[in-house]
């Protein structure tokens, strides 16, 4: 049984217009996507900014209102309870935020920040709580002396590790990681990603890993969802997407992955130019007349692509 099953999810934002400020139309941020996440699996959700990938993450944790569709957790339809506190879903699904500066309340100590979920769901004594917080900080490589400090005393990477410690405090089954390393220096990105991997093994966590960068995702994800204009253009496992991409949008994203080898620079550029040209040529065949992404078609058990 899948841990999380999202069926035909739609998130629309109203466009107000006219003299009376009525809703005249909708921005279809997410327009009918379905996917499943198995326990312990890492699913990558990749797309350019504005493609709706963060909105999917937000709606799954209840920060964005669903327009349509349903969400099943452990086989149970919990669509109604999303965003409510009294459910196992709230404890089971957590989120890591992209902006490490605004996601920690500047006025509170690390102890209070990390203990916040514990105080909400578990009745612990002060000593137990402190012990638990120290454990959680240790998991993300921070010593117990940090508990009494305030967020502004930490670097970006350390702040994100505090964010991770908060997210895992309730032993969730799934963590939505919304571009968890995009705001960090390249030098600390790998470090934070490693912590995420270690924690995943320790807690048997599933991740919905949201990113705009196929390069980062490659080392994290088992299954990939490529998103464009609020819909999936291609889904598949690592092999399917990286070696056998069918949709021109996916191909373009792959061509855009930076290569660390300087000798490959020219080759890379010609590849990018070729794919870019291909995209322009084949655009009409990959999108319907009004620019909408087609419905997904099954190519194999794992691989789907949105072609007519």
């Amino acid at each position: 049984m899948p841990l999380l099953e999202v069926k035909d999810l739609k998130v629309y934002f109203p466009i107000k217009g006219g003299i009376l400020a009525r809703t005249v139309d909708h921005v279809k941020a997410v327009d009918g996507v379905s996917f499943i996440i198995e326990p312990g699996q890492t699913v990558g959700l990749i797309g350019e900014s504005g493609s709706g990938k963060s909105t999917i993450g937000k709606s799954v944790v209840g920060l964005a209102k669903l327009y349509g569709g349903s969400i099943l957790y452990n086989g149970e339809d919990i669509t109604k309870y999303i965003g409510k506190n009294r459910s196992s879903y709230r404890r089971g699904v957590q989120m890591i935020f992209q902006d490490v500066y605004s996601s920690l309340d500047p006025k509170r100590r690390v102890l209070d920040l990390v203990a916040e979920p514990l105080r909400n769901f578990e009745k612990l004594t002060r000593a137990e709580e402190r012990k638990k917080v120290d454990e959680l900080l240790a998991i993300v490589g921070l010593g117990p002396e940090n508990a009494m400090k305030y967020p502004h005393e930490f670097s970006g990477g350390q702040r994100q590790r505090i964010g991770i410690a908060r997210a895992v405090a309730l032993r969730p089954k799934l963590i939505i990681a919304d571009e968890p390393v995009s705001a960090l220096d390249l030098s600390v990105q790998a470090q934070v990603l490693n912590y995420l991997k270690i924690i995943q093994q320790e807690f048997r966590l599933a991740y919905l890993f949201i990113s705009h960068d196929l390069g980062v995702v490659r080392f994290m994800c088992d299954h990939l969802l490529i998103m464009h204009r609020g819909r999936f253009v291609e889904t598949g496992n690592r092999q399917d997407v990286y070696e056998d991409a069918r949709h021109i949008y996916t191909r373009q994203l792959i061509a855009a992955i930076p290569d660390p080898d300087p000798d490959m620079k020219d080759e890379k550029r010609t590849l990018r130019d070729r794919v870019g040209k291909e995209y322009d040529d084949l655009k009409d065949k990959h999108y319907s007349e009004d620019g909408r992404v087609f419905d997904l078609k099954k190519l194999s058990d794992t691989h789907c692509v949105a072609l007519p």
Binding site: K16, I19, L20, A21
Partner: protein, 322 residues
């Protein structure tokens, strides 16, 4: 653009409706009724009075009375003054021009004082001229209009005798007419207008100063500097122009401020405007006049705010209504 303005006005309609109901209910609580302004109760038989009350719909349900009241108000009929036994509209009309001219002069003076001082303050920030101007604006913020008036009246009106105290025009000049009349009016308005202007400038001065200081550090000014644009031109072309644009939109707010200040100002200076009329009609329990004035002032305040918003949208294209 037009859509925005039309929408703003459409939003105003329900607001004005609620306001008129509020004022009507307030008026209902006020002693006296429509007959008080027409009939001398001491010479009329009580039965006749009661009869007339029925005839005028005094015992109608409130919504019927409201509809009648607002219908009359829209046509400019606010009933009759209890005290003067005259139509309210006529009494107010006599005073409206006085308040209008005093307000206009005040707004003019505010900008004549605030713009040069604000520019100087920003141009030479943290230097002696700015210190002096900041000192003045702190005092202006801390001094209520009444207090300033109490300082200015004995000095300019009594000791030095430069300005007359009270009234809006000299009776002699009134009969002479023409330029004498105009000058006398101006003479009577200058001291009150100056008082109101001096305490109202602080906000604009501080705004201009901080805008100019901010613009000095902005990227486009740094670019202009590095291109070698002369200092004078940087200020005149790049900084002042940008800083002054939003100030244009303050005109509406200034009008609003000056209007609400007129109640106090005209009373202190015994200047026969609408504000003074309001205070005296409350004192005389002449509620139809007071009520009509509130409605009028509310409409003027709303118009002033609307004007400001519209000007701001016209002069500053960055601001678009959501």
């Amino acid at each position: 653009m037009w859509k925005t303005i039309v929408r703003r006005i459409l939003i105003l309609i329900p607001q004005m409706f609620v306001l008129s109901v509020f004022l009507f209910l307030l008026a209902e609580r006020m002693p006296g009724d429509a007959l008080t302004g027409m009939i001398d109760p001491t010479t009329t038989r009580p039965e006749r009075l009661e009869e007339l009350r029925h005839q005028y719909g005094f015992y109608d349900p409130w919504h019927v009375k409201y509809t009648r009241w607002i219908g009359n108000a829209v046509r400019g009929d606010f009933g009759r003054s209890f005290y003067h036994k005259l139509p309210v509209t006529r009494i107010i009309a006599d005073r409206a021009a006085n308040t209008f001219w005093l307000g206009l002069l005040t707004v003019l003076l505010i900008y004549l004082i605030a713009i040069p001082l604000g520019i100087t303050s920003g141009r030479f920030h943290d230097k002696p001229p700015d210190r002096a101007i900041s000192f003045y604006s702190y005092f202006a913020m801390a001094t209520p209009t009444i207090v300033l008036a109490l300082f200015l009246i004995p000095l300019f009106a009594f000791r030095l005798g430069w300005f007359p105290f009270g009234g809006s025009v000299d009776p002699r000049a009134f009969s002479q007419g023409g330029i004498h009349y105009f000058l006398s009016r101006l003479h009577h308005m200058l001291l009150p207008a100056m008082t109101a202007a001096l305490v109202s400038t602080a906000y604009i001065i501080q705004y201009l100063r901080s805008e100019i200081v901010d613009y000095e550090q902005s990227d486009f000014v740094t670019t202009a500097r590095s291109k070698g644009v002369p200092q004078r031109q940087i200020y005149s072309r790049h900084i002042f122009r940008n800083a002054l644009i939003p100030v244009a939109s303050f005109v509406g707010y200034s009008i609003t401020g000056v209007l609400s200040g007129s109640v106090l100002l005209e009373t202190i200076y015994s200047y026969p405007g609408m504000g003074e009329l309001f205070v005296s009609s409350i004192t005389l329990r002449d509620y139809p006049v007071a009520n009509a004035l509130i409605l009028l002032f509310a409409v003027l305040v709303v118009t002033g705010t609307l004007l400001s918003d519209i000007i701001l949208r016209i002069v500053d294209p960055r601001l678009k209504i959501k």
